[in-house]
Amino acid sequence: MILEYFMILLLLLMVGLAIYAVETKDLLASVIAAGFVSLVASIVYLYLQAPDVAMTEAAIGAGLTTLIFIIAIRKTERRER
Amino acid sequence: MVNPILIIAITLASAFFIGILQVYSKLWAKVFFFLVLIFDFVAAGANFYGFLSGKITSPILVKIGGFPPPIGINLFVGKAEAAMGFLIFTITLLGAYHLARRGIPEPQGKAMVLFLLLSLGAAGITFTGDFFNLFVFIEITSIAAYGLVASAKTEKSLEAAFKYMVIGSISSTFILLGVVFLYKATGSLNMLDIAKKVKTFPLTPVFSLISLVFFAGLLIELEVFPINGWALDVYQGADPVVVAVLTGAAVKAFYLIFIKAGGYLALPSFFQLSLIFGGGTYLVSQFLAWRQRDVRRLLGYSSVAQLGLLILSAGFFLNNSLPSSSRHFIALAIVLFVFNHSFAKSSLFLLVDNVETREMEGWKGILKRNPLFKFIFSTSVFSITGVPPFPGFWAKLLLIFAIPKEYAWVVGLILLGAVAEIVYYFRFYRIASDGEGEKVKKNLASPLAASLILITGGGVAWSMFSGYMGIMFNSLIIVFLMVAAAIYIFGFSKPLQWTASLVLLGYGIYRFLPSMKANLHGFFLALVFFGGAILLFATYPTSKRLSWSFYPAYLVVIFSLVGIALSTSWLNLFVYWELMSWSSFLLVNMGKKAKRAAWIYAIFSSAGAYSMLAGIYLLPKLSISKIGVTGVLIPVLLITGFLVKMATSPLHIWARDAYGESPDEFTPLLSGIMSKIGVFGSALVFLYVIANISSGPALRYGLAWLGVLTAFFMTLLAVFQEDLKKLLAYSSVGQVGYILLGLAIATPLGWNAALYHTVDHFIFKGLLFVAAAGIIYRVGTSYLPHMGGLIRRMPLTFLAVLIAIISLAGIPPMAGFAGKWLLYSALIEKQWVFITVVAFLASTLAFLYCFKILHTVFLGQLQDENKNAREVPFPIAAAETILLVATVAIGAFPRLLLDPINKVLNKIPGMKNSGLFYEKTLGAVSKLGHWNALFLMVFTVGSFIFALIFFALTSARVREVKQLDVGYAGEVPRQVEDLHFGYDLYAHFRRTVKWLIYPLVSKIWKGIYEWTGTFAEVLRRFYTGNINTYAAYVILISILILHFFAGGK
């Protein structure tokens, strides 16, 4: 049961991070927040008995996606006007 | 049979292989790329052929991994899928070939991979039998499309790609959610399995919502209004070749899945959904394109509209309450529509690729210098707009006639949209054919192939259509039509074409002689054949300057007219009617300044034809025989089509310029015979439809007024016309108004008058137009004030025109008088007092322009530049002579014409007693009066000769004086200009009737056009170009879909 409450907390954290990612003017921060959303998601997947997905999400969603975002932002610009 | 999995697996492996190959050799990569495409094409073709020939009887089911359907993924290839696969690979091959010739964008290997995978994705969407697999293939297609759309790497293409990407992602999210929910609800991802389960499953609102999430995603991909802003931007911004493949192949695959999913998921509101979104998209997009100046975006609107029509058809196809035969027709219509649109639109986009500029103005005159380009362009435009014999036409017919009567409004909507489509497509056509444009890049192989496929498809569709609708097309006519079109190949030598045409027509007369029976059909058949032969004969001398397609089109017109006259079913008549309209459009468009006129002609004739089609659709049966209908709508719709061809006011505004600017060789046919076939049609409507309805008399009275007002106003307008052909045009239209009046009277005498005048008008107006052609050929202008005094140069023509004018004015003893006498007798017998007065007045006004023609052309002072004009060339003179003799002969012996008409009328119930009998001294006697034509002729000619002899004997010595020597107070003026009174003869009279000749009708039509355009222009602002807004539309529409189509709570 405690685990479930923890999950709810994590989900709330995830939503909060997502809102931050969308609302912040700093694109780099936004991308990193989005990466954290994925990371939290992979923990959630673990709880949901999906270790494969958790692994994929961690590697691809949190890792690779964030990485290519960062590269793209470095090639373009960091601040949102 | 080729295992469909091979197509997909080998293509995929090849895509990977090209990825390797391109590192080492670009050439081999290219060769391999085409080998793969050809393999796909052949394999898909083999499957399709297998289904067509019946070798493959049941759908191919490929169990991937060897698991039975619900367990593993499977491919499901039935007839539709096989056809769609073949279509996809054909279009891709055409596009790829075009791209290769133009130059594949760098780096080539990557571009080829994208291209290959785009077609693969589309094929996967088509073949797959699994919903999640569908999603994967949708993503493959989409990503390949994003890359290819951006491939031009210009700002526009990147913007388009980005928009596509954003909306595409939202769409695929919806699809993914829908698929997963479906899995959750049914426990399966297999399409057939889900379909099976859905039947046993209680259809809760939640299930509807799940289907709707899926369909919302699909509808976004299917570019329905108003969530298609991205699609239009893609059409506008992307490389046209990519767009050609996208719209020709990828979108069609989405459409197929839309139908399939609609069938599998059994969404209760699917019909309403497709009706609203399909119909709305179709209609709105057709209008939004009106003022579009960017060619690519214009074609985009058109694509979206066509897709809307397809969605609409899908709704009907899947509606279980329709009879299965209707649904079968609709399925055929859908096949034809998809085929038609894919090839035509791809061909157009590939053509667009050859032209640098995006603006429509840049296309000005592009057809003139590029004959092959013109051929392809015309074919494609005609196909899309549904001109026979292209597949789009048959598809439209099949669809319309399969729609049940309670959805008649849908038919109205389809036809309205079709008219709008013709407005903007032919504006485009007009601009492209107007003037002399630049030569364009020649990369036309692929579009040429597409148009040839279209033409072939049209032929197949025709035979299919006649088979399915149970309509017999006279095969002889079709053979003649084909041979007529084939005369095109003699285009290098116009005399040869002319001879061949005459021979063909002569043979036609010989073959159809048995059909010229004494009935309405035979009567008009004879008119068409013999009239057509005379007029065709007269085209010889000027033929050198004609275009290659003049004689083919001319003959197609004539044989379509034959088809119309011999039709026994309304639908049959309609087909030939459209054929005639469009071939005559081509002919009108050959005039140098006729582009605008031809455009308006196209709009009016197609609007009329569609109105007629709507009427035919509403008829309870299709055969031309007594039909019990109620209500005034059907006859009005039917007759509107015919009235357009007769140019009855207020549908006349096309006539002046179409007659005036069309090639001089063609105008006689247009006025002399084509307007008469409108009379034929109206006669049929009067006879078989109006005669049986309760409000028939009121309708006839209204039509009589229409006829007489046309006669009056057109005559009035002719009086003030300064162009010979336009004057004759107004005159012609006015005279046809009398014919309508005669028909509307609907008494034996009235029909006598109408039919008599039909032939008679052909004789004298044909003569006048033929003579006009000759005069214009010699003088070089049709502007009346630049003529004058030609009587000395062309005495024979003068005599012919004089007699024709006497006949036209209805002065006895020439043939024209009989028509007038019959008409007035009929009117007075019918006691329509006011109409009689207006008719009389109109014919009085006709004297004004009659004099004008004779004076400004032949009399007065000979202009200096016409000093060397000679008599008209021999064939024209011969035709004039024939018609002249006919006028005089019928003037003296009107029974030459009245007796056949009598025979015709005797066949018609209610017209048995033609209302005339003949007596030795009194001549023709009606209930009211009598007139002896022979006596009048003998009397007039006899007195004339007597007086002439007497005069010649008794008169003083006659001294002929020079041209300028007139009794001008002893002065002999030096200049012709001082003396010739040829401009604005009736200035004084115009001041009186200024308020009557105010161009109200054309202003109204123009206003409708302008206001619709403005409205469309304002509505188009809806597509703001802002991707945020587009996304908001998508969300809003999805909400609406989820809310309104889910069914019960």
Partner: protein
């Protein structure tokens, strides 16, 4: 204004989605629930997942059921998925190939710690990635995850060494060959086995062994190579486009 309209729209959309999702109670076995609705269940395997779960071991011998599904039952999806990734890499390379006009930015030389660490980690990471995809049919993870790990090794090197440049040719060929191998295994199934991608061309072996589950490990290895090289190439492509001085 725009904001609030958007929020309104989205909330309504959310309501509908929640309504749909709420029809399936969270954490409950809806397989059983749904069966009650069905009028006449004659088939035993109404729910495909039951087949996968109950027969998966018997049919494939792979202990990771997700892998069984991904590679065998729904192997065609995975072929598509690989294609999607390939496509994305191709599209990216295609689009960025001619583009040399990005914002300049200062390259800071990596610290010694990073350089040393990455030199050490590079082979280890690649090995780890290989381990993941080789054991895809036994443990969580597989070709995609392993491939990504390999790509991250490449990325580490890119960050650490200014001059590091993976051989593009090798990457392309690896990627292509891996893809072809996948398709070829599928076709081999068509030729020698039941059907395309059928898992009966190799002996299935025993449950929970490394050499088991027929072609599944082979496919996952191919996928691992493919994804690894693809993503490495992708990252390199993105990394290397810069303004040419």
């Amino acid at each position: 204004m725009r904001k609030w309209i958007a929020i309104t729209f989205l909330l309504i959309l959310g309501f509908f989605m929640l309504r749909i999702a709420g029809a399936f109670p969270f954490g409950e076995n809806t397989w059983k629930v749904a069966r009650q609705y069905v009028k006449n269940v004659t088939e035993e395997k109404w729910w495909v997942a039951e087949h996968y779960v109950d027969k998966g071991i018997k049919e494939n011998r792979g202990s990771n059921l997700v892998t069984s599904i991904v590679v065998n039952y729904r192997g065609f999806d995975t072929l598509g998925e690989v294609t999607v990734l390939f496509l994305a890499a191709t599209a990216l390379a295609f689009l960025l190939s001619s583009c040399t006009c990005f914002r300049k930015y200062e390259r800071i030389e990596a610290s010694l710690i990073l350089k040393t660490a990455s030199d050490t980690l590079y082979p280890l990471l690649i090995l780890f990635g290989a381990y993941i995809f080789i054991h895809g049919h036994l443990t969580p993870g597989g070709g995609f995850q392993g491939g990504t790990v390999i790509a991250s090794a490449v990325m580490l090197m890119l960050l650490a060494h200014f001059s590091f440049h993976p051989n593009h040719e090798v990457l392309s060929v690896t990627e292509g060959l891996a893809g072809i191998v996948f398709a070829a295994i599928g076709l081999a199934g068509l030729i020698w086995g039941r059907s395309f991608l059928a898992n009966n061309i190799l002996p299935l072996g025993h449950w929970n062994r490394l050499f088991s589950a027929g072609v599944i490990p082979l496919i996952y290895i191919a996928i691992g190579f493919k994804v690894g090289s693809e993503l490495s190439g992708l990252i390199t492509d993105m990394f290397k486009v810069t303004k040419e001085e």
